[in-house]
């Protein structure tokens, strides 16, 4: 009889040492949920409640306002250019890094990640320094004997503006979303190795066929994941875009800048109405992200 009691007590001691008592568990769950409520759930709920504070009518008037529409259009243009370009770049960079060996690969990896560690305000500032009226482009246009005189003349004649105009906004958006697709695809393609592509080549497929039929199906979930994160950031970018946009209402305001403009006008409900669109998009992003992770785990 004694051995049974000893084993029981040993088992109890074992359980006490490998899990926490229920009180501690509940306490920890409580602390975690309280912290998350304060910093995540309350802000999220408050966006939607504030948006409808003046009723549905006000909400729809605000989001169908011409200024709001022009901001939505500009955000779509900037994201519509930045995301596909960074997508092509991401695939190219991942192909180079994962499928070939060359010197300086680690330096290239670090450089690709660089835009993530640059403050959004500085991301905008660098384009002002290059393309602004006082920047390199301004110097070039005012030079007495510029290189490629026809280019300088053409730019002057057509009054091409980059800063405080749409091209600057597009460039800043490209910069801040630069690494998203690449950093999703590089580890994925490195883990997959090159044997499948080599097999396809041995069986007679050409380069494009190998890419479309072998590589792309293998990386499609990673690519989609990267595109979703890239789009979310492109649509929501604020700091970089606010430096280069000049904030001309109806012309160079993106959706986040339009929210700021409404907020600065003390039109808080209006600001939250437009913000609720972006918050909804953030929720859709999180939903898609969770779904892709789920699908990827099942595969």
């Amino acid at each position: 009889m004694i051995p049974v009691a000893t084993t029981l007590r040993a088992a109890q001691a074992q359980r006490r040492s490998t899990t926490e008592p229920p009180v501690v568990r509940r306490l920890l769950i409580g602390v975690a949920l309280a912290f998350l409520s304060l910093f995540l759930f309350m802000p999220l709920i408050s966006v939607f409640l504030q948006a409808f504070a003046k009723g549905l009518g006000f909400y729809f008037t605000t989001i169908t306002d011409p200024m709001a529409w022009s901001a939505i259009k500009l955000t779509c243009i900037a994201s519509g250019i930045a995301v596909p370009l960074n997508c092509v770049f991401g695939v190219c960079a991942a192909w180079t890094i994962a499928k070939f060996d060359f010197r300086g690969k680690n330096i290239l990896l670090t450089l690709i990640d660089l835009p993530f560690s640059v403050s959004p305000v500085i991301s905008g500032l660098i384009y002002v320094l290059v393309f602004g009226a006082q920047g390199w482009l301004g110097l070039y246009l005012r030079a007495d004997h510029p290189w490629l005189p026809w280019l300088a003349n053409w730019l002057n004649d057509h009054d091409i503006k980059i800063i405080f105009a749409v091209p600057g906004i597009v460039l800043a958006t490209i910069f801040v979303t630069f690494p998203f697709v690449a950093r999703e695809l590089i580890p994925l393609m490195q883990a997959q190795g090159r044997t499948e592509e080599e097999a396809a080549r041995v069986l007679g497929a050409n380069g494009w066929q190998t890419f479309w039929r072998v590589t792309l199906p293998n990386i499609k979930w990673g690519l989609l994941y990267g595109v979703i994160l890239c789009t979310a950031r492109a649509v929501g970018e604020f700091g970089a875009v606010s430096v280069v946009s000049g904030k001309i209402r109806g012309q160079t305001n993106t959706v986040p800048l339009h929210i700021e403009a409404l907020y600065d006008d003390y039109n808080f409900t209006g600001a939250f109405a437009v913000a609720s669109l972006l918050a909804l998009l953030a929720l859709v992003t999180l939903g898609l992200k969770t779904w892709i992770e789920h699908v990827a785990v099942e595969k």
Partner: protein, 283 residues
């Protein structure tokens, strides 16, 4: 033999190396390297004395103190609570766990301007949280505490998402072994679990800290941007830009850039250390 050799070589090497490397370097140079080098070019037009004078202006010094202090404090708070959140998500079961797990990434997905106006409203005098803090004499909006609150919000997912996978992979046999050798739960946590998670926790801390240093959108609405008091460094840069003083703005930007490159380097070293640490401890 020569043709066969040529053929095997052609088959073994996948196509597109020159094309993809060429495009990668071209695009990287055009979008990232050349514009970033403009910062160093622009400040080279300043004399050393002017440069030093600009980056040590009282308004700049106050902003470094606030930016570093609030970022550090926010990262510390996130390290503690983020660890608890990761722990709870990995080890326990509770209602709505999957939803909570998905929502942890909200600060990544929510545009910073939206986060900014929301936090400013919540913590204002009449806001949901502000109205409870006001009678206690705690003012958050338009104070340095506001900066800290915004930076805590944006840093939250970094710790959870770096610690969570390590906790999931932790071998339960290690804890059982420690228990069978007579360690109690508290000793196991401090001596077995925490040392294993520490590299990930430090990496998450460094990532959250680095992100907070450059943050702009979520901070400006709640901070009030009072010079010498609640202006973070990006706001100081923005102020100089609004006055078209590009040299000053760029000099301060260079301080921030060098700092964040140093942070990036230390994160890489930390991650390398974490990988080495994990392989040796599991071997």
């Amino acid at each position: 033999m020569a043709p066969t050799n040529k053929r095997t070589k052609r088959i073994r090497v996948l196509p597109g190396f020159k094309l993809t490397l060429g495009f990668t370097l071209f695009y990287l140079g055009l979008i990232v390297i050349i514009p970033l080098s403009a910062v160093f070019w622009e400040t080279s037009s300043l004399s050393w004395h002017d440069f030093w004078h600009t980056i040590t202006m009282p308004i700049a010094l106050a902003s470094y103190r606030l930016t570093f202090g609030a970022s550090f404090l926010a990262a510390v708070v996130n390290a503690v609570f983020g660890f608890i959140v990761a722990w709870v998500l990995v080890r326990y079961h509770f209602f709505g766990k999957k939803l909570v797990d998905a929502l942890v990434d909200l600060p990544f997905a929510l545009p910073t301007a939206v986060a900014g106006i929301t936090l400013a409203t919540l913590y204002s005098k009449a806001g949901w949280i502000g109205q409870w803090l006001e009678p206690l004499g705690i003012k958050v909006a338009n104070t340095q505490i506001g900066v800290f609150v915004a930076l805590t919000f944006i840093g939250l997912p970094f710790i959870v998402r770096t610690v969570q996978p390590i906790l999931e992979d932790l071998d339960p046999e290690l804890e059982e072994a420690a228990a069978s050798l007579g360690a109690n739960r508290w000793q196991i946590f401090w001596r077995v679990i925490l040392p294993m998670v520490m590299p990930a926790l430090l990496t998450g801390f460094a990532l959250a800290f680095a992100r907070a240093l450059g943050e702009y959108g979520s901070v400006i609405f709640i901070a009030g941007n009072i010079p010498l008091k609640t202006q973070i460094t990006p706001v100081v840069i923005m102020g100089e830009l609004d006055m078209f003083d590009y040299a000053k703005a760029t000099a301060i930007a260079e301080v921030m850039l060098v700092t964040s490159f140093a942070m990036l380097l230390s994160v890489n070293v930390l991650q390398w250390w974490a990988n080495r640490h994990n392989t040796t401890s599991l071997a």
